[in-house]
Symmetry: C2
Subunit: 199 residues, 2 copies
């Protein structure tokens, strides 16, 4: 409707996650009105595209060859690897402060329906790593979806082959939730996996 | 949490309208995974920043000195000016196909509470234009908010001084709405400004 240059920006903005046609147009007009922010975004994208690559160990995004976590000797000493689907999961788990080991990012999940095999995500690379590294425990933090479970079972199978302790993050009722509003499956798990209260 | 380069992108994305911290992070990871889109966005921003400026007549964004609408002789001949708050309003009105004249963008509204005066938006420039141009009708399409109404009254005052016909876009019930769900003020207007059905 406007002209090619502006239409092109709107078209690209629409491809970003969570941004529809209306938001794309709003952001476009915002950037035209606030050129300073547009220039900042432009420079930032340039930095990102030129300087960010993936860690050779965990595949997280980093400016180095090996990321800060994978090169941290204290974290290496724990000999624990937490397997996640996406870099955003690492951010979320790091924020809990409950894990001090290393990560491994699959960039996806096994999915027979979508035809995603172990070679399509980083699962074969994970297997090679577990084969040669000394790992005490693998913690599987994939999603609690069908695909996440299939992937979890696959990783558990690898760990079994190499005699590595493997664990799965707990299912249960979310903190702050009312029992009556929790779905059947979650509540079932929370009862089956109940824990003893020690006095 | 990540590193300066990535944090900086998230920080900038958060300043865009409708994008919160979670969306900003999601877009950042999306751009890192889909570098092609990141590069397209980068190039598009470059185009926007270098080539887009504001029309000298209506203040809409354009690649030329005078935009396509303001330089269209057919539209000029109508001698109608539709005054709007933002460029997005022009897009919306153009989509209706009900207006064939020119536009004038205020980039804001008068607001005594926020201290926005006629010199802070393009109102004084509008007055100068109405003073020297031959204008048959000014159509005021500012928002139906308190600020929009104040601005509308101000523009109507100018038009009166220069003997120019002035109109305001209609208030009434939105198309497709149920009467019982319409607010008191809108429904009042729709009754007061009812129109005769001609057979």
């Amino acid at each position: 409707m406007y002209n090619n240059i502006i239409d092109n920006l709107v078209k690209i903005l629409k491809t970003l996650p969570g941004i529809g046609p209306k938001s794309a147009q709003r952001i476009m007009f915002f950037l035209l009105k606030n050129k300073k922010i547009g220039i900042d975004l432009y420079k930032s994208l340039n930095d990102i595209m030129l300087k960010i690559n993936q860690c050779a160990m965990c595949f997280n995004f980093t400016v180095k060859d090996i990321c800060n976590i994978c090169s941290n000797q204290e974290r290496i000493n724990y000999k624990q690897i937490c397997v996640v689907e996406n870099p955003a999961d690492v951010v979320a788990i790091e924020q809990t402060g409950q894990f001090s080991g290393l990560y491994f990012i699959l960039f996806g999940c096994l999915s027979p329906i979508d035809g995603i095999k172990s070679s399509d995500i980083n699962l074969n690379i994970l297997e090679n790593r577990l084969k040669k590294d000394v790992v005490k425990e693998v913690i599987i933090a994939t999603s609690s979806t069908v695909e996440g479970e299939i992937t979890s079972n696959y990783i558990a199978g690898i760990c079994k082959n190499y005699n590595i302790t493997v664990s799965r993050i707990a299912y249960g009722i979310p903190v702050g939730s009312e029992i009556e509003s929790i779905d059947f499956n979650t509540l079932s798990y929370s009862i089956i996996r109940r824990y003893k209260i020690n006095f």
